[in-house]
Structures are given as C-alpha cells and as structure tokens.
Symmetry: D2
C-alpha cells in the first residue's frame, strides 16, 4: 500500500488561510434557451482553508480532488456560471471535512456577437466573464461579473481645448454667442484611450443578474463602445459619439453605480457591488483607475442623500 | 484662464473607494552604509479615496500631483523603501484635502549578488522587493516584502517512490534493515519545480525589518535555492540538498511563519504577516498555492498552543 | 461624401514590409466527422505588404476589410485551420490589389480530453494550436503547429547523482555488480521541470498533417506527459516514467525531428519544419531552449549520413 | 570524477539551429563621460548553434558557461551595449569550439529624464533599449535599438470629422472660405491612442549610433510625446500638438525611415534597418501595426526614385 504523507503532523503546525490550485483550464458549456450552448474556455482558481493547526493536516493529496470535482461538474452543460462555482465550493467543503471555508474563482473569455453602429455589419467582441463563490460555516456568497473594453474621452482636456479655441475665435472677431453656436456643432478634440470597465455583483439564490445586463451597463459607462470592424461611416460616428460624451475614470464608475442601482432593484441591501474603471492613457505611460466597493444599501443611501 | 472641470458637481455623486494611477516607473536609489546606493527600477501604484460624495468633487486634475510628488520624493537617495511609500501617502493626504485615505504600492526588481554553493563563483539573482503604505485619518500602516524563487521537491511523490523501491528491493531479496541503510544514502526521486515564496510584513516606526532578513527567510523555506550559474559540482549538490529537504507548498508557508516568529521577536502583536508560496508544478499545467494571513500575535498563540 | 485620406500620396513614400492588425479574436468552429464541431477561441494577426512606394498609398482604411473578411470566413464551421488562414490570405491579396504578399497567423487554445495513466480518470489539457499562411505572387505557404507542455528530467544531474550514489554504496562495501543491480531498479533523482514543446510544419494541398499527430509527437518528446488530475497511483507512475526517460532540451528537439521524419513520410523534401523545446528550469530563474529549423529534405539527409 | 553525459553521442544526431538560455537578468552599468554610470536591469537571451550532428555533441553542460561569461563581462561598467553583446557572442564561439554561430540579445528598461513641455517640470519616462549580436564564421553583426511610447492621432477619422463639421457649418450659413479659417484654428477631434515606436539599426565598428539619437527619432515619429506629469497647461499643449500632427501607423514608420536616412548619413549601404510602429487602438480591441525591414541602401534608393 502506498504511504499517505499528508496525514502526518507538520513540523510547524500553523493554520493556513488558503491552500489550493490556480490556472486550471476547462471547457464549460452554458445552456441557452432555444439555442446551442455557449462554449467558454474557463480558468479556475480554487482554495480551501486549513485552520486546524493542532491536528496538523497537510492537504497536498487533496489537490487531486479539486480537479476531479471541476471535471465532473463541468462534464454537462451548466445553467449559469454562479451555480457552477458555488457547487464546486460546496463539494470542496463536503470532501475536505477539516476545511471550514472554500473559495472558487472562474474567468472566461466570452465572444459576444454585435453589429456595427451605422453600417449594421456583423462583428464580435471579447467580454471577460467572472464568477466567484465563497462557502463557509456561516457564509455562502456568490458573485458574477464582467469586464468590457470601450473608448473614454477626457472631459478636462476637452474643456481646456474648448477654452483656448474660444479665445482664438474671439481674437478672430467672433462674438461669444456665435462662438457658442459654432463650438456646439463641432466635436472638440481631447485625448482618448482604451478603457476597461469591470463590474462584480453579489447574487443570491433569490436574486440573480443576467450577464448580458452587466455587459450593457459596463459598456454604456464609457464614452462609447469599441468595435473590431468600423467602416468609415461607423468610424466617424463612434468618434463623434465618444466626443459628445466625455467621461473621467471617476464618471465611468459613478455612472455604473447609478445604473446598477436603477436596473437591479431587486438586489438585497447587503449584496456587495464592486465597480472599477481603468484607462490606458494615451498621453501617459501609466494607467488611471477608479473603484467603488459598497453594498447596494450604501449606494441607495448615497443616492437618497445626494438627491440624484 | 483655463477652466477647472474637476471642481464641478458630478452627475452621480457617489463616493469612490479608490482613485489613482497604476504603473508609474521611477528610478529609486536606496542608500547603503559605506557603499554606493542600490538602484531600483520601481513601479508605483497610488490611490486616494473620494468619500465626500455630497460635495461631488472629481479629482482627475490631481493625477498630475501624484507623479510630481513621487518625482520629488525620489529625486535623492532614500534610506529605505517603507519610509518612501509612507511619505508619498502622507503628502497625498495633505495635498488632497478631501481625501481621507491614501494607498501607495511599490515593487522593484532587486539584483542580489551571491556565490555558487560549491565552486564559490559570483552570480546574481533577481529578488522582487515590495513596499506598501496606507495612511488615513486613524490609520498609518507600512509594509515591506520580498518575493524569491527556489526549487521545491514534493515529499508525497518521494515517499511513494521510496515505498515502491522498497518493495522492489524486498523482491530482490534484501532485508528491511539493509534497505533502510541503502535508501538513506540515496537521493530518492520525486517531482520538483520552480517555487515562488512571498513574505509581506507590517512594520512601524519602532519596528523595522531589513529586507535581507526577509530574503533569507523566504529562500530557506523552499527545498533549496536556485542559481543562475551551476558548475557540475554545484548542480549535483543542489539536487541532493533539495531532495534531502522535500517540502509541500504548505510546508514552505509554515516554515516561513515559524522563522518569522523566531527571528522577528520585536514585532508588535498586532502587526500583520502575509506569507504565500506558489509552485509551478512540473507534473501539472496548473500551479499550487498556500497562503497565511495573520497577526504576529495569532502566530505566536498558535505556536504556544501547538507547543512547537 | 466622406473624404478618403488613405488614397493621398504619403509625405515619405517608402514601401512597407508589413501593415496589419494583431490580436483579433474570433470564435472558430472546426468540423469533426460524426461529432459536434470543436470550438476554438482564436487570435489572428494579419499583415499585407505595401511595396509600391512610388504610388504612395496609405492603407489604413483597409484595416476595416481585414476584420470583415475574417468575420465572414469564420461564420460557418471550417474543415481545418490551415485552409482557413490561407483563404484569408488569398482574399486579402485579391482585395488589396496593390499588395503583393499577405501573412495570416492564427493561434488558439484547444482543450484536449485525455485519461490519467493508471486510474483511467477523465481529465483535460490545454494544447496551443498554431496555423500560418503566406501568400504572394510566387509563393503560397501554409503551416500548422502545436505547443504542448510536459515534464523533462535532466540526464546530466541524474548521472551525477548516480555516480555519487555509487561511490557511497562502494564505501558501504557493496560490489560494482550488485550496485548496478540496485541502481537499475531505483528511479534516480535529478532536477525536473515544466517543458514546452512546439512543432510547426509546412503543409501543402497534397500533404496535410492531422493536428492530433503533431500533439502525439510533441508529447512523446519530453520525459513524460503532465496531467491535471493525478491520483497517488498516477503520480508515482508519472514520476517513475519521467525518471526512466531523462531528456535534455536538445534531446527533445532531436526526438521530435526523428519522429517527424518517420511519421510524416509523404512530406515533400522542401517543406519546412520548425521544432522548439523550452524548459522552465527548476534550479534556475532562466529558461533553456533548443530549436531546429530545417526542410524535410535536410532532416532526411542528416539521418542517412548519420546512419540512424 | 563526475561523468560527462553531454559528450556522449545523441540517439538522434540532428544538428540544432539554436541552443541556449532565455531570461538571464543582470545589472549592467554603462559609462558616461563626466557623469555617474547609467544602471540598467538587463535581460539576456543567448544561443549558439550545434551543427555537427555527426559528432553528436549535446551541450547542456555549457549552459553553465553562458551565465559565467555574462557575469564576468558585466562585472565592470561598459562603454556601450553593442560592444557588450558582441563580446559575449565572440567569447561563446571561442569557448564552444563546435559552435559556428552565436546570437546574443539584450533588452533593458532605461529611465530617461525629461521636462514637461510648457511648465518645464522634471519627469521621467521608460524607454526600452535593445541590443543584439550575431557572430559566425563569416558574419559579425551588431544591432542597437529602442522602443518608445507616444500618442498617435488618426488622420482618417480627423478628416471625416472635419468633412462633417464643414457640412454642418455650411448648413448654418457659413461660407467655404470662412469655414476654412475657423477650422484651421481648431484642433479637430479624432481617435488617438498609445503608440509604440521601435527602431533597430545594424551598426559596425566604424559606424555607431548613439542611443539618444534613436530615442529622438522614434519619439518624433508619432503625433506627440507622452509624459508622466502633465499640468493643465501641458495637457492642452500636448493634445493640440498631437491633433495638429495626425499620423497613421504607416506614417510613423515612413517618418522614421526618412529621419534615419537623413540623420545617419555615415551608415554603410548594407546595414540593416528595422522599423516598427504598433498602435493600441482606442476604438478597437485589436492593435494596428506597420513595419519596414530594409538596408540603408534600399531606403536611400527609394528616396532618390521617389524624389522626396
């Protein structure tokens, strides 16, 4: 019989907050009503804790169980990603009787079909789908999320350019009123960049969020969407739309927060919301970031106090 | 005069948990007693919060201040990385009067000179240095950390191989006692891999940790160190040493915890310790990970209870 | 009517070797006989040249055509990846009448189902699939390739360990002959690591290579395969197998070359072969690499001269 | 005595195009006249060939020599990066008597000090420095190169926006002539993005190129430079400058080609030039790329024929 090294007492019997594996890739098929399933190449990170330091169990042998479990739970098409990750976490807890907490993170690239804005051509975009579960003695949390890319136009630089343009037109002899009329019909230059909007929402058995709704909210938060195909008619449309809707990195986060509160009315007050925007600045080598982490209740309160 | 867009009221006046920049690179020179300063190509991530949603300030303009501050604070050689990041955080709070909390993260590749184990040749290794500061109304936290690579040999596979080898030697007619003698003089095969050990320690004005001490602890936690140069004499030495010291990913974390408690006796009980080991498994495509997050007090208690 | 900036004469009318796009992601479905199609999340890089510097055409507008073409050619399930990329290249040449050469590169992660070696459990592995086409006035080349991971055991360190073990056993009083018998029944320790084997083969309309055959060759070149799931019985089996088959990075490349020549007998002499092995050394921070680029004819000659 | 496995005959005695190591990191100090040396954290990839398949030498043991050589050659401050890499290549050939060709690639992040354009503040930018050497029986080639980031404004979208703006102003009753005057004083909106310009130049013992000159050329090829610090006055300046200098990805490459020919008059006709521009499009998820690979002679001819 083969020996079982992991059952021996460790030399230094400290508890461990997390033991697990990262980067397990699996094909996951998600069912769709009246359509073929969506196929996602998904990456899983899976952890359990190991708090019973007195007992001194080393759990490396159980790494084998993690992959086996993901393998069996992804063998058939699933209904949605959040149920998958929570099921993996629950089975981990059941299987590792000494663990008190399990965490499962999943991410996948979803190829989303869409149409160009003016010429109505078929095109595709990559949206990252996220799902997370934490299951413990007194907790059972699930999250779903998305990450989308789009274009953001800087309002500050646009205002600065506008102000200097005004001065030039005044020098050229134009009057304030006419200048306003001219400038309001011109997309004013600014710097713009690739932005990445991320939303992660805590869901429950009674409160679910379709991923497509999160994709919509994230996309609409930036100055405009990006596209893989753009005919000239589309390109000028996208540039004009984006410049008529300049957004700071903070604006994107605040817009998402407002939309999330408005469009997810059934969310319980204590459900967590994580919103993040990152812009790959064209005028800098560095990126700029804004983030809000709050419960639905906190966001609702801020709206009421702020009288939005 | 140029307009100041950021002072206007935002459309959706939510507070923001974090607004900042990521990926600012600077040359940082760290003073050494009686030696030329160490030069680090360092990357900074810097954030402040924006809680005053009622006032509705958008702070993009202040991104300009962040880089300016890092630029000025890194203009001269510094004493240590933790004082640098806390100074940046403190100045951010001072400058952004509406912010109540600032976070600064720094990481750098440090080229560490060392000798090969047998032939005593000069060689170099890359060690990642980490530093972090969080400064708020009622908090002022600093962290220093390191990430080093080494080799880890799996004890489980080694025991399995040993057990099967015993069976073979028994079949060949050897007696238990003799087999033990033979096997104890042979490095038993297993799978081994590149490991990455990470330590992050909370420090205070009164309790500092030299980075070299953390490098030592992290390196000693794995089965053996890795080297860029290895003569044949060194190579066999490293392989034998590593196989005589097999370590699970959990063992590495527990070993670091024990060494940290033993070698950092002056650490206050409430100072935080973050320890992590990640192994790039040679027999899998995925990695395995173990992690412990605890205060010095908690770790000390576990030792006392465990009677190590 | 919208202006057409790209038709104007450039200020500096140099020709361009390559103009194109990188990182276009598409879902590609590959047909299988009597089975559902394989779904690949594929990334495309597409280039044409722009040699007619005198005419001075700038082709940015035509970026729109590239994505449109990939979109339309991947709308239906395809027969194989090499026909897809060559079709994209051919259409690019047709559409860009001033271009004389088009290059298309595609890569995708293929989730390959397999069984564990002893316990026969279902598991999956990620294999990278590559495909390339170059189409020009007098050339029309297609390539298919794969990249797989596995474990490699160093023969050098193993011999060194064996030699030192012999010396110890001699000191213990064993005789040469008995030592040989003992050592031949024990997996001798060495360092081992994650390896990555890559093969790229030029194919033609008459000479095709099934991707599964390339996966087989690449996997068999290393000391042994890696698996996501490994029960204890599997783990010891993999470690013993790998240690009984030590391979230098050069050995892996040479083994692949030999297998390619042996198993692809119909390949024309002028078809190109690119073979590469990269090992993520466990005893070093750096990787080691070996590579061979040759025609089938050259490889066949070397075999004949070498009298393998 | 330890055995020497690498001298044995390989099972499949194929030659190898490249055997070597990748990712060796070293501190390299570059001398400067009347100033402290520049410190570069540099990464080296080093290869030799192994053509003598009949002799069947396996060279893994010699990996040890590679690092030792780099270690010794970087122990003292060097004069320039191209002499360093060629010296490494030459010593490799000398040391590995069976190798007929050695390749050395080096890259490093150089922190370049500069001033903001209007407010004249100190700031830093990261420039990637490249160096390469190939030394063989009948060849001895050296390359130096740089990679810089900047902002690129799309001329096509700008013209489209301009055309539509004209139409609107015509509808508002303005005359052609007046419209031209108005539009010529306004930075017209477009999409803009982070661009990356790369130049690599073949140098010889008699023809050297200071890296600062290549940095200048690469930076000037894009619509404008990017900066880490930008005060409001600087920001509007950068945006206006960039929009007054729109550049396609092809324009950037052609501009660099023209400047290289103009500013490097002493370059021999057969010296190779590699120029590349990559733009991280803000309106797309994909990047666009243009590239020119040619000799100085070819570029000079194209200029003469094109009568630039």
């Amino acid at each position: 019989m083969l020996p079982d090294v992991q059952c021996r007492r460790p030399e230094y019997p400290f508890g461990l907050s997390r033991v697990g594996v990262t980067g397990i890739k699996k094909l996951v098929e998600v069912k769709r009503p009246s359509n073929r399933p969506i196929v996602l190449v998904s990456t899983f990170d899976v952890f359990v804790d190991l708090p019973c330091y007195l007992k001194g169990v080393s759990m490396s042998r159980n790494f084998e169980a993690i992959d086996e479990m993901i393998e069996s739970l992804t063998a058939e098409p699933i209904s949605n990603v959040e149920d998958l990750v929570v099921k993996i976490a629950e089975q981990l807890i059941k299987k590792h009787e000494y663990a008190s907490r399990a965490e499962v993170l999943m991410s996948a690239e979803f190829i989303n079909k869409k149409k160009t804005p003016v010429t109505n051509l078929n095109t595709q975009e990559v949206v990252k789908i996220l799902s997370e579960a934490v299951v413990g003695e007194n907790e059972r949390k699930m999250f779903v999320g998305v990450e989308v890319t789009g274009i953001t136009v800087c309002p500050c630089a646009q205002e600065l350019v506008k102000a200097r343009t005004k001065m030039k037109l005044i020098e050229m002899g134009y009057k304030e009123e006419e200048i306003e009329k001219i400038l309001s019909s011109i997309p004013i230059a600014s710097h713009n960049q690739r932005g990445r909007a991320t939303i992660k929402i805590e869901v429950t058995d009674d409160f679910r969020v379709p991923i497509t709704k999160l994709i919509d909210i994230a996309k609409s938060s930036m100055s405009y969407e990006s596209y893989e195909i753009l005919k000239r008619e589309d390109e000028v449309f996208v540039v004009e739309k984006a410049h008529s809707n300049p957004r700071f990195v903070e604006d994107c986060v605040r817009y998402m927060a407002a939309e999330i509160v408005k469009r997810l009315k059934k969310a319980p007050d204590d459900a967590l919301v994580i919103i993040r925007q990152e812009n790959e600045e064209s005028i800098h080598q560095h990126n700029v970031v804004a983030e809000r982490i709050a419960t639905f209740g906190e966001l609702r309160n801020e709206i009421n106090e702020g009288k939005i």
